[in-house]
Every structure is written in structure tokens, then in C-alpha cells.
Amino acid sequence: MADTKIIVNCETGEVTEVALTAEEIEQREADRIAYEAQKAEEATNAALRAEQKAGLLARLGITAEEAELLLS
């Protein structure tokens, strides 16, 4: 696993490969966990919304296409 970063100095064009510090490695892991949690929350919300939509259509006794037609 590469614990390095690539820094591009835009003033000089110099590209350097630098080892991550212990703090940066910890932060990277924290960022990864936070991003995964955020994506999981989004997926949960999308699934919940789809479930609510399906339940509503069932109660109304119409299809999704018929609902779209009503709203058009």
C-alpha cells in the first residue's frame, strides 16, 4: 500500500513524491470511513424513498407510469 502523496508545485512545475505522515494516514482513514458512511446513508435514504413510493402507489392502486401521467 502506497503511503505516499504526489505534490505538484504549480509555481515551478516540480513534482515530488512525499511519504504521508502518521497524522495524514490517520486522516485518510477517517476520511474514507466518513465518505463510506455518507454513501451508505444516501443509499439507505434512496431505498427508503423507493419503499415509500411503492407503498403509496399500492395504496392508490396505480402504476408508476400512471402516476407520472397524472403529474405531467
Binding site: 502523496k5 505538484v8 504549480c10 512545475g13 513534482v15 485518510r28 465518505y35
Partner: protein, 168 residues
């Protein structure tokens, strides 16, 4: 009106891979910025996502995205720091995801908008393409851009090139 499109700098990932690629410091010499990236990661997946941070910040990002997978119905959703699709270790060998990110008025004193045009590439059953509009609700001039894969590290030969666009 004459317009210039000038390469500021480019980075190519070496054999050891890299956790992220960062451009800094970015001078306010241009009107707009364009970042072109070609990325593949070491993650055990077909593809993944590039994540952006600006000036070291990963907060106050919002946006909308539409995307398709080559089959089925295209979808749309909200984004925060998403910056495009990449190829990962299980994609067809030597293929890369490609993205362009455009930052208009990056050095101005208003919130920073940007657009993303991205595709992944593999000769499999599923590959992605997407378009997104993003907003960083921060009035600071953009002086640092960092791209990080959401999983694994950037693999060898991944590249990122930053261009400055100047309106004369």
C-alpha cells in the same frame, strides 16, 4: 477576444502508487482552471470514485449528478466531494477512468462552481459515464486542488494535468 489555454503542471503516478495528487500553490493568474485526469486505482473493484478537496477543505460541497452504467435507466443524485469515476484493479488491464473538471472564476470572491464530465473504461458489462455540477460554498480563491480515490491508491501511470484558461 483572445483566449489562452496554458498547461500549468502535470503529475504522473510512479510504480509505487500514490494516496493522492495535489496541485499547490495555484496562482491567480488565469480566469478559469481545467483539470484533466486519467486515473486507475489499486482497489479490488472494477471502478471507483475520485474525491476532491479544495484548499484543504472537504466541507461546504454540494451538487447534482446524472450518470449511466451502459445499460438500464440513467440515474441522478446529489453529490458532495465526488469528482468523477475511475477504473480500479479489476477493470480491463491498462484502462483508466477519464475526467475533466472545469472551475470558472476560480480566483474570484464568490462561491466556487465547477462542472465534471467523466467516464470509466473497461471491456466488461458495466461502465459508467456521468455529468455533474458542483458548488463549493466558499469565497476563497482556489489555491490547492487535491484528488483522492475513495478506495485504494492511485496506480502507476495515472495522470493529472492542470490547465489555466485566460481571457485576454
Amino acid at each position: 477576444m483572445a483566449t489562452t489555454f496554458e498547461k500549468i503542471a502535470t503529475a504522473t503516478v510512479g510504480s509505487g502508487g500514490a494516496a493522492y495528487i495535489e496541485f499547490t500553490p495555484i496562482a491567480g493568474d488565469w480566469t478559469d482552471l481545467a483539470l484533466y485526469v486519467s486515473t486507475r486505482t489499486t482497489a479490488s473493484a472494477v471502478g471507483g470514485n475520485d474525491i476532491i478537496s479544495l484548499n484543504g477543505s472537504s466541507s461546504s460541497f454540494s451538487g447534482r449528478r446524472i450518470y449511466g452504467a451502459g445499460s438500464g435507466t440513467p440515474a441522478s443524485d446529489t453529490i458532495t466531494t465526488w469528482a468523477g469515476f475511475n477504473d480500479a484493479n479489476n477493470a480491463t488491464a491498462s484502462t483508466f477512468g477519464n475526467s475533466s473538471i472545469y472551475f470558472p472564476n476560480y480566483a474570484g470572491s464568490t462561491n466556487k462552481s465547477y462542472s465534471i464530465d467523466t467516464v470509466s473504461e473497461t471491456n466488461g458489462t458495466t461502465t459508467y459515464m456521468g455529468l455533474a455540477a458542483g458548488l463549493w460554498s466558499n469565497t476563497a480563491a482556489i489555491t490547492t486542488i487535491r484528488l483522492t480515490p475513495d478506495s485504494g491508491n492511485y496506480a502507476q501511470y495515472s495522470t493529472a494535468t492542470l490547465y489555466g484558461i485566460k481571457k485576454a
